[in-house]
């Protein structure tokens, strides 16, 4: 399950993710991180069964946690199956099948947002 963590640098000076890994023994994979001087946003992937425990712990440490149920979403009415998104995505979420139709491997998506402006038909969006 993918969790989006938002934290402010002022409050969290500790290595929270490392602490949670240590306390729970759950291996957390960091898929994307954006951190600047005042705040940060980190997308992590954890086993579904451990997610409630991890959420609770993170929240106790002052982090806002949002569960991301879906990756990028596509409006089928707007999509023309061009495939412009295919080579843009760093996670190879999009692929063409033998019928030249574009499909999504939703579970790979880390919601980096790169494909959204690259779609000429405005078919992609981030539903939160």
């Amino acid at each position: 399950m993918k969790l989006l963590l938002t934290f402010s640098k002022k409050k969290n000076r500790e290595p929270v993710i490392a602490q949670v890994v240590k306390e729970t023994g759950v291996l957390i994979s960091v898929e994307r991180a954006h951190i600047d001087s005042t705040s940060g946003e980190v997308l992590i992937d954890v086993p579904d069964t451990d997610a409630p425990r991890i959420c609770a712990l993170m929240e106790a440490k002052g982090i806002t946690v949002r569960i991301l149920e879906h990756g990028i979403s596509r409006n089928q009415d707007e999509c023309v199956d061009c495939g412009a998104c295919v080579s843009i995505c760093p996670k190879e979420v999009f692929y063409l099948d033998a019928e030249h139709q574009v499909h999504l491997r939703d579970e790979r998506c880390v919601l980096c947002g790169k494909c959204i402006p690259a779609c000429p038909h405005r078919a992609l969006s981030q539903t939160l």
């Binding site: 023309v80 199956d81 061009c82 412009a84 295919v86 080579s87 843009i88 030249h100 000429p120």
Partner: protein, 502 residues
């Protein structure tokens, strides 16, 4: 045995014509041989569905009461060309909305019209004795128009060069988003399904030929603008009745940070008259090659990195200088197939007959570049040659002094033989002063990845660099990286204030 177009049309009417889509033709000819293919195939249908900026429509709105001679016309805030008769206008696909910018444009107006949506018309006039009215605002659907004639001066490119980007910045182009350091390759066109690739000598494609256009029956007008078949880049101008079109094969698009375009679906039926037509429609993706161009070079003649076929492009990755790069199509092959199959269905049902050109298209010409009569300013024309610079071993203190004395914010840093090695700004120096580290030298605080220009570069290209990197000065270097001048935003400002701009 050669076949006449009359015989093919008779078979179409009788419902016995054999029609195949162009993608199947190579295998069919291989299997049957040319003689039997000629006997058994009457028509090959082609198709393409991609961005075609050179598209638009003539619209006639009918007269208002009291009547108005519209001089300027807007449809949903997108200006249409009104320099025609009183209530005619031409809506161009790439024109952008005055309120929504590149999120809505002429292409979107066209899509809204063929979808049956309401569109707001605004027109203004100075008023004449016969047309006293000065302005009008009304809501219309395509039903309310007398005519909506799609008229596209350039569609159906035979093939198109693929694009990549070797600079270290993402580029937003009409060829889509190009990732830095050759991070991806974009291409366009349907390859073996593309209409003009199946008849490159224009024997059966020409003026007057009926075609599939955006879901309706259209017609080839003649050669398209920029028609350049000698090099394999033929184009068509086409027309069709927009009232019969639908949004399945006419879609507005926005190329991010480039602008609005229109995706157009076109299919041309090709009569299999003789062996030559069998051979030309048996073309494969492997046979159609284009250059892979570097869009990092903003010139008319962009350097080609290699030659590549549609077959390779369609695999999803190709090799460039030993590295594998992923490819993306901007046009839709699925939709192109849908076009070819729809046209195939029409012909099989007997509702669409073929015709030979009434006006031939020249297959030998090449498009010429623009003739430019005014001098295009180069960096050397406006750069500052009296540049104060500094050497890398000088102290921060002396850099500060030089900045102050020279009344400048940028100091190019040169090594002993005058080669540019970095740049320091007032900001870098102030930061170093605040930090108070001992014995800091210029080389410790300078930026070494310098964005620079050359004396020969066009001023507009240099201006684009200043804007893109959000900087205010560019060192000018020769091809040995020796500094020859400095170009600042102020120099550019002077230029645009004066001579070259009207």
């Amino acid at each position: 045995m050669d076949k006449s177009i009359a015989l093919i049309n008779q078979r179409i009417r009788e419902g016995t014509a054999q029609v195949v889509t162009a993608d199947r033709m190579p295998a069919l000819v291989e299997e049957l041989g040319e003689d039997r293919a000629l006997k058994e195939v009457d028509v090959v249908t082609t198709g393409t569905f991609g961005a075609m900026c050179s598209s638009g429509a003539f619209l006639n709105f009918g007269h208002a009461d009291p009547p108005i001679r519209m001089e300027r016309v807007w449809l949903n805030d997108v200006e249409a060309y009104g320099g025609l008769a009183a209530v005619d206008a031409y809506i161009g696909a790439t024109q952008q909305s005055t309120t929504l910018g590149d999120q809505y444009g002429g292409a979107h107006v066209m899509e809204d019209l063929v979808s049956g949506h309401v569109v707001e018309l605004r027109g203004i006039s100075r008023g004449t004795d016969c047309y006293p009215r000065r302005n009008i605002t009304t809501e219309l659907t395509i039903e309310d128009l007398n005519q909506a004639m799609m008229m596209n001066p350039r569609n159906a490119y035979q093939r198109y060069n693929a694009a990549t980007n070797s600079t270290d910045q993402t580029l937003h182009t009409y060829m889509g988003t190009l990732l830095p350091n050759r991070g991806n390759i974009n291409y366009s066109g349907a390859g073996c399904l593309s209409p003009l690739s199946n008849d490159p000598t224009f024997r059966t494609i020409g003026g007057g030929v009926p075609i599939f256009l955006c879901g309706a029956t259209g017609m080839v007008v003649g050669e398209g603008t920029q028609h350049s078949p000698a090099g394999g880049f033929g184009t068509l101008s086409v027309t069709g009745d927009m009232k019969k079109m639908g949004p399945d094969f006419l879609r507005a698009a926005t190329m991010h940070q480039y602008g609005v375009s229109l995706y157009v679906g076109i299919g041309v039926p090709i009569p299999i008259l003789d062996h030559d037509m069998v051979r030309s429609t048996a073309i494969r993706d492997e046979d159609i090659t284009v250059d892979l161009l570097d869009y990092g070079v903003p010139r008319r003649n962009r350097p080609a990195l290699r030659r590549v076929s549609y077959a390779e492009l369609k695999t999803g990755k190709i090799e460039v200088n030993g590295e594998e790069v992923r490819t993306s199509s901007l046009s839709s092959y699925r939709k192109a197939l849908e076009v070819a199959r729809t046209l195939q269905g029409w012909i099989q049902k007997g509702t669409f007959e073929l015709a030979l050109p009434t006006r031939r298209i020249d297959p030998t010409v090449s498009a010429r570049p623009m003739r430019e009569t005014a001098l295009v300013p180069r960096v050397r024309d406006i750069m500052n040659t009296n540049v104060i610079s500094i050497s890398e071993d000088e102290s921060i203190r002396s850099a500060a002094k030089t900045l102050l004395k020279g009344d400048t914010n940028h100091l190019p840093v040169l090594n002993r033989d005058g080669t540019l090695v970095g740049i320091v700004t007032t900001y870098d120096v102030s930061k170093a002063v605040v930090k108070e580290e001992k014995n800091q030298k210029v080389k410790d605080v300078m930026t070494t990845r310098v964005i620079k220009t050359s004396p020969d570069e066009h001023v507009d290209v240099a201006a684009q660099k200043l804007e893109r990197y959000n900087i205010s000065a560019l060192p000018v270097v020769d091809n040995q990286n020796k500094m020859v001048g400095l170009l600042t935003a102020i120099d550019l400002g002077k230029l645009f204030g004066k001579r070259w701009q009207k």
